[in-house]
Symmetry: C2
Subunit: 199 residues, 2 copies
């Protein structure tokens, strides 16, 4: 019994997420967010109560969609453990070339947020910590599966290997943002997998 919204909240959230993803938190003004979402200031502040709140929701949404895509790869029972990790790295390279702006990779919002905000925004830090934990769990599962099958080395425990793969992913994203081309990223991924292979 009141005026209905003329916009889709999730579409607006996606647009805001993209804006933060491309330019970072500080460099994205509320004016930028209005233009990115197509909403007026009132609508934004009415729906998401502040810039910081909107960022939190955008980050949460990014984590959800990203992890949903990665869990499918890492729990794919059709593949062996190491093949799942290889597929994950391939997916990440693909993502770096899907999400570009002016010929540059925009990287990964969680990595970008770790760099920009983790030290001075406890809420963002807590979200990143939880997200890291779930990603490590997914990785550990795939890695343990590979260790059981014998194609991933059993000389290091799954948690260590998971943290290593996670770090390599972060490094690949930085490399992509630094201008690395596809062949370079693929070579990094291939080399990184050498450390996982059973020998």
């Amino acid at each position: 019994m009141a005026r209905p919204r003329t916009f889709d909240e999730e579409r607006a959230l996606d647009a805001a997420m993209h804006a933060f993803w491309v330019n970072g938190y500080e460099a994205t003004s509320t004016q930028d967010l209005c233009e990115a979402t197509g909403l007026g200031r009132s609508s934004i502040y009415n729906t998401f109560s502040s810039k910081h709140d909107l960022f939190r929701r955008a980050l949460a949404r990014y984590m959800e969609t990203m992890n949903a895509a990665q869990i499918e790869i890492l729990e794919d029972v059709e593949r062996t453990g190491i093949e799942r990790v290889r597929a994950l790295l391939a997916r990440i390279i693909e993502g770096e070339f899907e999400h570009r702006e002016d010929g540059h990779s925009i990287g990964c919002l969680t990595v970008n947020t770790t760099v920009e905000l983790a030290a001075r925004d406890p809420e963002a830090a807590a979200m990143l910590e939880r997200d890291l934990a779930t990603r490590l769990t997914m990785l550990r599962t795939a890695i343990r599966s590979g260790q059981r099958d014998g194609d991933i080395t059993a000389e290091r425990d799954a948690q260590t290997l998971a943290r290593y793969v996670n770090a390599v992913i972060g490094g690949m994203r930085i490399s992509a943002q630094g201008g690395a081309d596809r062949a370079t990223l693929e070579a990094i991924a291939d080399t990184a997998l050498d450390a996982l292979a059973a020998r």
Copy 2:
């Protein structure tokens, strides 16, 4: 035949560099820079003509000091190739624990700048590109030395391995900023070296 400066330009530059390093470019205001350096606005604008210019000089200084320290490790003829790379990774871990603020690692200014500015600041991007090239050259040299001695795998070319090590370093710095402790970083480094080892 005029009033002399009462401050040391290089000390001021170091202080500014540290401020940018901790908080990033956008989140460091000119007021912050005054407080960090102890200079007044006039002195800052008189010496460094703008915030952006000061940032450029701070970044250049960071790159110089960082690369000077790393070249010593990577060209240490007392060590084999792989030991040099191992020493480099150990040095980087050490650095992550030397440079902290409120219990958080402040990471690496070049990585932070790649994330925050590379896409929209062509000058910073050019500096980062040159810096990457010199770091890859240093790494390649050490890696080639290890390949000649037989302790680094010859199955991948030195350039690929250099890019891999560089990516791992970036990933370790992200991990550190994300809260990884020393043992975790050391385990990542050890695992990463498995991909370099001749087998």
